[in-house]
Amino acid sequence: MKTQNIINYKNIFLFIFSVLTVITSCSEEFEEINTDPNNPKEVDIPLVFTSGERSILYKYGRFTNGTDWDLWCGLWIQTFAGNHGNGVNYDLYDILPNASLWDRQYDALNDLKIVISLGTEREAWQHVGASKIISALALGTLTSHYGGIPWSEALSGSENPNPKFDTQEEIYNSMFSLLSEGITDLDKASSITLGEEDFVYNGDVDKWKALAYALEARYRNHFSIKNPSGSATAALTAVDNAKSAGFTEHAYDLIFPYEGADIYLNGYFHLFENNQMIASEVFMNTLINTNDPRKEAYWNTEATDGTVVGYTGKSNGFGTDNASYSPVGPQGFYGKKTSDQLIATHFELLFIEAEAALRSGDADRAATAHNAAIIAQLNLVTPSAIETLTANGGDVSAYQTKISAYITGFASETAGSITLEKIMTEKHKAMFTMNSESWVDVRRHNYDYPANLSIPINDGKAIASEFIQRVPYPEESTNTNSNTPGGVTIFDQLWIFKAN
């Protein structure tokens, strides 16, 4: 009996003791266990900067199976026509409320916001400045597609799940602030320098400043309808600043450099492979009729399946068919796996100068800039055609003659001969693959330039009674943000394009 009692007592004691030790060892470890070992809570500024920079710039010329507007609006400026799949749908103005451009840009803007706030705290002014400039560019592209977008209330997570939509005017104001702040920030003494994490300019602060002025020129020029003379003056000032900052050569151009491997293949090369958009007939004919040497630099004579098609374009709105047409890629300036994607160039700046100068009455300056712009772009893209010709044993000197002839014919304007139509028609050709900005130009001039733009015809009927003016807000915004404007159609003209 006694023995049994002791055992009882001992056992209960042991049990309670072991339970207690187990409890105490547990609670200490809990917090440690629940810290995510796979993802850090904080990272260095340069690493986040690269992510933001990359995600914004990656969206230019991206194929992504029909969800990125920058590439697809090539259909509406009719340098491309729809061949099958989404290419045909968008060519026929059958536009889905996709989100890919939108959500990746805001995701990236969130990364840049973190760089800006951490950078401001730690005085990493170069990173802050560059981030602000990229943010302005992103807003510029977004607003050119969507008009009013969230910005002042955006990027607050669950604290503001229904950010309001700033008006397009407010967005432009924010963009100009970002650009000027960016320029100022780049001049401040910085605790860390921008380096190779900036895979575009490799940390060259001068190039960022030049780019900021060039972007300002671009966006000031957008006000050509709202404020013809004021916008011309402001644009020309920015042009001068950009030029003196060095934005006069290809090394200063804003590009996305493609390595040609993995997911970093040029988007137009992807387009060549899947063939959903193809050369547009009106554009191809223009190149042929004006004996434009860029025909060889832009397009290829062999379709993606190997059929030799020569230089043939498809009519916009035609729909799916069995024939093959000229693709961009896999050679040429724009369509190689390793081709850079151009985003903001020195020759665009010259065209802006030409247009703004003409508007402000300085025809001389306009003509000079116009000629310089064409020559600059030809110098950039024709070498690739010469390379291909040399490799194929073609007639290189005949081609060079063609280039000179074109310059004589089209890049030799004078104050007397220069017109807005010539500037915008040449700009339209030069802005090939920079579709978002080209579409802004086309809409700004009410689809008047180039003159051969017309509403696509399908099966004998025009697909609509007016040209497309914008894309719809993404479905995810309509579904989750109660402040998304409703009743928007693709024919609603954006504020920036209205006289008043």
């Binding site: 992510s51 959500d103 669950s158 950010p163 993995d262 989750t480």
Partner: protein, 1035 residues
């Protein structure tokens, strides 16, 4: 086993000590038999030799009871020695169920639902996956086999899904230790959730419960949640499947050796319908470029156009086939599938002595499925034993090792599905896929050749798993027993997928590969005290109190190699760019629990449980939560006079509160590495999920009421239950509009309700034939109503997943059941008439509810007929309702191969392709009935018919003969003088007959495998029927 009640008291005069030996009908001693002196609280138990000793008065009655045997009553006479021979009573055996923590309880005393599974039926089911073997056996359990591949995963949900985005599958417990039932897949994150159509192109692995050899199982109980699982805490919020493995038996003469081998063949059980009238092409004309079969009608004897150069025979060289007849091969889809073969061999040895017993088994299962090279091979070894060191101290242990080798293929758009979508009639499905240089001959750069995939690609996997436990129990006192159990479930899972150079669907067709290494470890330590008090002569109290610690660590390394450099070299060093990511999940749950049961005169029972858990995934200030449960039973038939009509009647009811913690790492927002580097530069981006430091646990409350009745002397048994369960405060990622910078944030919200009825009806031996024919019928019926009551404010619904083609969504929408399809419907007016456009073609309305995945009810009929040595048994399942989205059909319509597209229009003059249709509806703009004959063109099918999702949501109601088994046991007379105890031969049939209106393959399928996204039928290996034979010998 019954709990011992061991209390002795001082006795009156004339009391003497009675001793004796209790044996079974074969003369073997029976330990553990309960002896009670009737109308007193004196009791005793027989020891390992069957000997007992008890004090009783002359003239009192001793009651001998033991589970599985008929009770015996013996009056104490002059003799002090009473030996008893107990007779087996099989009907008693079914009354014990194993409940939480391995405690066996008499079913009569339970206030909640717990159903036992007949383990013989598990083995006869000839399924590789234990979960599939359960199908049809238990009411309220909804199991979906995802397809006909040998390593197809199976999804199991008990009483409806309650968690919108979390886990809805029950806990599997083996010998008291919870084990892992993960389903892995070959994506870099380890999850496919249908948010991207490319998810359908990943290989989905098998669910881990299938590693267990069903032959090792002695008993299996399904606890359906609520009070039944309250003791298990968080992990068993959706129910628990309690498995006990075989142990051998004590006091056995010699060894018990069992050997079985079975061979089955499987074939596809249902084919979709195709049209074989049209050749490759577009818009009625042949085209070399296209994947479609919208080409010329074969009835027109079409020939290849001039200058058609194509590799017509798959030899790697192009041929000029201009002017030749376009060849015709039929039944390509049917001919792609072969007959699968499965060989299953098991051997086990068990035995025991006075103090201990052991069980050892080995098994091998080798299965090649209906797709060539799709293989599953599993080898199991198990060893288990227990031993009584002293009368009071018993130790035991178990170790079970499984090795599973698989070779599987991707489905959907990057696997066999894509090529099968488009295989035209002009090629034979058996054509070569490589030429003499082993270079790919397939024409397309975007759609894969299914023959290439099954021969050159393929994900190889190997899993090595060990499940084991050590345990001891110590009788501290008569009324207190200490139990300790420590168990581990650890497995390593390695997978490798190589897609050689020139594989379509790899970037640049340069090939790629991945290697996955997973290590998982689940450790559970459980200590408890249990016992029994007799409070007074009417009232008995039993209790259980204890604690457990659960520690889980999951580590997954995913290494992706892009662009292979050398042909035929399959090592990761052969990849030009290698990126990797690591997922490391760690979790700890600490819990204390207790259970008290009061038993009043054996007819009134009340059980109270309480458990408190602390989980590491919840915030420190809020990481503890408590859940109680109460259940009761009232055996009212004890109050009635003995009668033949109602021999047993019980009312039962229970209520429980359950909780579920948050997923790992929900508290802090983090950055994530984005790969590959850009321009050689690494990047980190802020994760687009915003976490919540104030997250709370999910809470659910469930109650059930029911009754169990036995009529007409146990001829008819009826068990009927009504239940209801509500889950609130679900931890949900609430979508944020992307302009907030995040895609979602974690918060508690949402409410889902499930309620329903389960009924079991057994008719036992109703012929009562004296010639030895025994006929039993068993029915089980279940009906579950699911409703999503609430989702976070401002949201219309929560999207669970998407289908492959059209963007039809599977959602949780308030007012609709969980798992509702939302998509485009035909535009109709209020009277239900179609509203057509000016061309007479139907129009669409988006965002419409199209149906849902839940069946209305299921009824299983399990008959059994036995005569002498022959037994015929089966399972016939009736299912009403439940929709499936026929994504495969969308593919075949797009391709022009579906039977639906047989009526098509190319040109009015083409008599073999000029079908038009006047739609039965009214033209919307005029209000007039339509008389317009709409040509059924290529474009109509692609852009109108295919875009209307309602065309593809089909009802899956079926009648299915799931199993049919004929067993013959050799008569014992033949075996009398041999050392063989028993020989049986079983002919098995699985899924032999299916009757359904569903138009595609067998509707029991799921494109994404086990998980919450069910209901999408994409092109994967279709389900199969099988037949074969098993021979079992026992020595």
């Amino acid at each position: 086993m019954l709990f011992a009640t061991l209390v002795t008291q001082t006795s009156f005069a004339q009391e003497k000590t009675i001793t004796g030996v209790i044996s079974d009908n074969k003369g073997l001693p029976l330990p553990g038999v309960n002896i009670l002196v009737k109308d007193t609280n004196k009791g005793a138990q027989s020891d390992f030799d069957g000997k007992y000793s008890i004090s009783a008065d002359t003239g009192s009655i001793l009651i001998f009871s033991y589970l599985g045997f008929a009770n015996q009553e013996v009056t104490v006479g002059q003799s002090s020695q009473i030996d008893v021979s107990m007779q087996e009573d099989a009907s008693e055996l079914e009354e014990v169920v194993v409940t939480a923590f391995g405690i066996a309880k008499e079913k009569n005393k339970l206030g909640y639902s717990a159903e036992s599974v007949d383990v013989n039926k598990l083995n006869d089911a000839a399924e590789n996956n234990l979960v599939n073997a359960l199908n049809g056996q238990v009411s309220g359990v909804n199991i979906t086999d995802s397809g006909g591949s040998p390593s197809a995963s199976a999804n199991i949900v008990i009483r409806g899904s309650s968690s919108i985005l979390g886990n809805n599958q029950p806990l599997f417990v083996i010998d008291g230790i919870p084990i892992n039932n993960n389903t892995e897949n070959g994506s870099s994150s380890g999850t496919v959730d249908g948010t991207d159509f490319r998810d359908y192109g990943k290989t989905v692995g098998v669910n881990r419960a299938s590693d267990i050899n069903p032959d090792d199982i002695a008993s299996m109980t399904v606890l359906k949640g609520g009070a039944a699982t309250a003791l298990y805490g968080i992990r068993a919020v959706n129910g628990a499947i309690i498995i006990t493995t075989k142990s051998g038996s004590r006091n056995q003469k010699g060894l018990n050796i069992s050997l079985s081998t079975g061979y089955t063949i499987d074939e596809v059980n249902k084919f979709p319908e195709f049209t074989d009238r049209y050749a490759r092409g577009r818009n009625g004309a042949y085209s070399n470029l296209t994947h479609w079969s919208w080409g010329p009608a074969y009835a027109n004897n079409p020939t290849f156009p001039a200058n058609t150069i194509t590799d017509i025979d798959g030899d790697g060289t192009d041929d000029d086939v201009s002017g030749q007849q376009i060849p015709f091969f039929r039944d390509n889809y049917k001919n792609f599938w072969q007959k699968g073969t499965r060989l299953n061999t098991n051997i086990s040895v068990s035995g025991g002595g006075e103090k201990g017993r052991f069980y050892v088994s080995a098994g091998n299962l080798n299965h090649e499925g209906i797709v060539k090279n799709d293989t599953y091979e599993r080898t199991n070894f198990t060893i288990k034993g227990d031993y009584n060191i002293t009368d009071k101290f018993k130790i035991g242990g178990m170790a079970s090792y499984s090795n599973v080798n698989t070779n599987s293929f991707q489905g959907g758009d990057t696997g066999i599905g894509n090529g099968l979508t488009y295989w035209h009639h002009m090629w034979d499905i058996n054509r070569p896929w490589v030429d003499s240089n082993r270079d790919k001959v397939w024409f397309s750069d975007f759609v894969g050749d299914p023959n290439w995939i099954i021969n050159e690609e393929g994900e190889r996997g190997e899993v090595n798993r060990t499940i084991g436990n050590i345990n001891f129990s110590y009788d501290i006192a008569d009324w207190m027993k200490l139990n300790f159990r420590s168990g581990i479930d650890t497995y390593s899972d390695q997978k490798r997928l190589v897609r050689p150079i020139s594989s379509v669907n790899t970037t640049g067709r340069l090939g790629d590969m991945y290697e996955i290494r997973i290590n998982n470890k689940d450790i559970t330590n459980n200590v408890n005290l249990s016992g029994n008090f007799v409070l007074n002569e009417d009232l008995n109290l039993s209790y259980l109190v204890g604690g457990d610690i659960y520690n889980s660590r999951y580590d997954r390394l995913f290494v992706d190699g892009q662009e292979l450099l050398t042909k035929d070299f399959f090592d990761i060093s052969n990849a030009k760019t290698v990126t990797s990511n690591n997922l490391d999940n760690n979790k700890k749950i600490f819990g204390v629990f207790s259970e008290i049961t009061l038993d009043y005169k054996s007819f009134l029972f009340l059980t109270l449980t309480g458990r408190n858990d602390w989980s590491s995934t919840l915030p420190e200030q809020n990481n503890s939560f408590f859940y109680p449960s109460v259940s009761g039973g009232f055996v009212f038939s004890n109050l009635l006079n003995d009668n033949d009509i109602l021999s047993f009647g019980k009312l039962k009811g229970s209520w429980a509160k359950l909780g579920n913690d948050a997923p790992n790492f929900s508290l802090q927002s983090v950055f994530a590495r984005r790969t590959p580097n850009v321009g050689g530069q690494p990047q980190f981006t802020i994760s687009n999920r915003q976490n919540n430091p104030n997250i709370k646990p999910e809470l659910s409350s469930a109650w059930e009421i029911g009754g169990e009745f036995k009529f007409l002397n146990n001829l008819i048994g009826l068990d009927i239950t009504y239940y209801e369960r509500n889950t609130v405060d679900q931890v949900l990622p609430i979508p944020l509009t992307s302009t907030t910078g995040f895609a979602e944030y974690i918060d508690n919200s949402g409410k889902v309700t499930n309620n329903g009825i389960e009924a079991l009806l057994n008719i036992n031996d109703f012929i009562k034939n004296s010639h030895g024919i025994v006929v039993d019928f068993g029915f089980n019926f279940a009906k579950n109503n699911s409703e999503v009551v609430e989702v976070p404010e401002g949201l219309e619904e929560i999207i669970i997943g998407y289908g492959y083609w059209n963007g039809t969504k599977l959602v949780a929408r308030p007012g609709e059941p969980y798992g509702t399809f939302v998509g485009d419907k035909y535009k109709r007016n209020e009277s239900g008439q179609l509203l057509l456009d000016d061309n007479g073609a139907p129009q669409r309305e988006s965002n419409q509810v199209l149906g849902n995945i839940n069946p209305d009810w299921t009824l299983n009929f399990n008959p059994r007929v036995s005569y002498k040595g022959l037994t015929l048994s089966g399972n016939l399942e009736f299912r009403k309702g439940g929709d499936l989205y026929n994504d495969a059909e969308v593919s075949w319509i797009y391709a022009g191969l579906s039977q639906t597209t047989e009526d098509r229009f190319y040109d009015a003059s083409d008599v073999n392709a000029n079908a038009t249709r006047v739609f039965d509806g009214i033209i919307e703009s005029t209000g007039e009935r339509s008389t317009i004959a709409v040509p059924l063109t290529n474009t109509y099918y692609h852009n109108n018919y295919n875009a209307t999702d309602e065309n593809f949501v089909e009802d899956t109601s079926w009648v299915r003969l799931r199993t049919l088994n004929l067993t013959y046991n050799l008569p014992s007379k033949i075996l009398e003088n041999t050392f063989v105890n028993k020989v049986s031969v079983t002919f098995t049939g699985r899924n032999l007959w299916l009757d359904t209106n569903y138009s595609g393959a067998d509707p029991e399928t799921s494109g994404l495998g086990a998980g919450n996204v069910q209901g999408f039928n994409t092109i994967t290996a279709p389900n199969t029927k099988s037949y074969g034979m098993t021979v079992k010998v026992q020595f």
